[in-house]
């Protein structure tokens, strides 16, 4: 589904990614783990087209997307739930879902889309007309994921969705991710929370200093502590 090879990217004169290669097969959950400053968010930004790749290729469903701007990448069916959520603080929850769906479906289908997304997040139903800025952190994370889902993406990329959430909500989040995967969505999960990653992902990449230092199926990383050490160290 997603093939990244030799990706180099950075900000200004600084190179952050020094040749990242990874794959997300169709229908799988893949986790990208790494410490602070390892280049996780940069990898997602480069795939999404928020920053431009300097070298390497990114293919999605066989189509090269590495030089396309974010809105075109989105058009191919890639959605990113950013770490900082990037909500529209003065707009209602419903408007967020509306905007998420708007670019990738016909006007008449929007209502149906929103309905199907809300099935995953029933809690949002009672907040549809509230400003996003007024919601709690967990609810905001739901809105961010729901907004991305409203476009019915083929690949969903989540950037540290567990950050700042209570453990209860994190495990709830894990279940939601699994349910999404069961409907056939490919998911790329970027995390520092090793527990969450191990519990949902089928394949794991570890990034350090802008390159992939280790990867393999989840079963190969059974020991959480060892896994944690490997990317910290």
């Amino acid at each position: 589904m997603l093939e990244v090879s030799g990706l180099e990217a950075g900000y200004g004169p600084q190179l952050v990614l020094k040749g990242v290669s990874m794959q997300v097969p169709k229908g799988e959950i893949v986790a990208l783990l790494g410490g602070n400053g390892a280049g996780k968010t940069t990898t997602l930004s480069a795939i999404m087209g928020l920053i431009s790749a300097r070298k390497g290729t990114v293919r999605f469903a066989g189509v090269p997307i590495q030089s396309k701007p974010a809105h075109r990448v989105f058009g191919h069916g890639v959605a990113l739930v950013p770490q900082w959520r990037e909500l529209f603080s003065e707009m209602s929850v419903l408007e967020h879902l509306d905007l998420g769906a708007m670019q990738r479906c016909r006007r008449s289908e929007i209502g149906q889309r929103i309905e199907s997304v809300l099935e995953y997040f029933p809690e949002l139903r009672s907040h549809l007309h509230r400003r996003a800025g007024a919601l709690s952190g967990g609810q905001q994370q739901m809105v961010a994921i729901a907004r991305a889902l409203a476009s019915e993406p083929k690949l969903l990329m989540l950037d540290e969705p567990s950050m700042g959430l209570a453990p209860m909500i994190v495990s709830e989040l894990g279940r939601t991710i699994k349910r999404l995967n069961e409907t056939g969505k490919s998911i790329l999960l970027v995390e520092q929370n090793v527990h969450l990653a191990l519990s949902v992902a089928s394949y794991i990449y570890i990034i350090r200093g802008g390159t992939i230092v280790k990867h393999g199926p989840t079963v190969a990383f059974a020991d959480e502590r060892e896994l944690f050490q490997s990317y910290i160290g």
């Binding site: 701007p69 809105h71 003065e90 707009m91 905007l99 708007m102 907004r147």
Partner: protein, 297 residues
């Protein structure tokens, strides 16, 4: 009677300030910059109406339409040529990018003015009013028909723009982009198109004000600078937040200014706008009605 007269003039002036201020706010909210060339959009549109009506002899209504289309096109072209290349240049820091865009609008301000001087610098021109009867009398109160037109058009346009933002998908996309550009990109919005549309719409606001004001004043290349300050003042009073807020800010500005001039000191009318800008921005940056959160920091 005198108060009613002052009020009618104050309100219609305020409508013009509100429209100009609205154009400033749209660009400010989208890109975080004060558009110093906005007064020149006001001026250029007035001259476009003049050119269509007087020089090409088009009918009045058609000339207005031509001028509005021209304003929109000018806004879009200006954004494309002078703003986008800077906004897209990722090698600058955020602060440098904003400063560069502001300077670009300052450059535009001078360049457009200079450009307008080539055909129109030699003398002052006049555009006729929309209606042939200049004044009507309502219960002894003499009202200028052009001023009534200004009030009606400004109200209608403000309501239309409010509806545009809350109801249409383009309006929602524009709001989304102004609140969070990264978020907008992530829902597939082509922010480049949104900026074009924003500049176009902003230019229409300034342009309509220019076309409406033209018959009351005379057309000359420097006519925009004064309007720019008044528009800024209206936007500051309104708090850069909502469409309605800016419009009310303009009204307050227009009304207070004229009463101040009449009963306190006409000499202060010149610096009323800068005083309002400073006082409001320093002591109540969210404007008279804005909520704190609407202020872009």
């Amino acid at each position: 009677m005198e108060i009613a007269t002052l009020l009618s003039v104050g309100v219609s002036n305020g409508c013009l300030y509100g429209l100009v201020g609205l154009g400033l706010v749209l660009v400010y909210n989208a890109q975080g910059i004060p558009n110093f060339a906005h007064g020149e959009l006001f001026m250029a549109s007035a001259f476009a109406a003049y050119t269509a009506n007087i020089l090409f002899g088009l009918s009045y209504a058609l000339s207005m339409l031509v001028a509005i289309v021209f304003a929109f096109a000018l806004g879009v072209v200006v954004e494309f040529l002078a703003i986008r290349p800077i906004a897209m240049n990722r090698s600058l820091g955020r602060a440098s990018t904003e400063v560069a865009i502001v300077l670009s609008t300052v450059g535009l301000m001078i360049a457009i003015k200079g450009l307008a001087r080539i055909p129109w610098g030699d003398s002052v021109r006049k555009l006729p009013a929309a209606f042939s009867t200049e004044t009507i009398s309502v219960g002894g109160l003499v009202l200028s028909t052009q001023r009534l037109l200004i009030i009606v058009v400004a109200f209608v346009l403000t309501i239309a723009i409010s509806l545009f933002f809350s109801k249409t998908s383009l309006g929602k996309k524009m709001r989304a982009t102004s609140q969070n550009t990264a978020g907008a990109m992530l829902v597939g919005i082509n922010t480049g198109h949104i900026y074009s549309a924003t500049w176009g719409l902003a230019a229409i606001c300034g342009g309509v004000a220019g076309i409406l004001a033209a018959p009351l004043i005379f057309l000359y290349p420097d006519m925009g600078t004064r309007m720019l300050l008044k528009g800024f003042a209206a936007a500051c009073l309104g708090g850069f937040g909502s469409v309605g807020g800016v419009f009310v800010g303009g009204l307050v500005m227009g009304i207070v200014e004229i009463f101040f001039g009449r009963y306190l000191a006409t000499s202060m009318m010149d610096i009323f706008a800068p005083i309002i800008i400073i006082v409001v921005l320093l002591f109540r940056p969210q404007g008279l009605f804005g909520s704190r959160s609407a202020v872009r920091v």
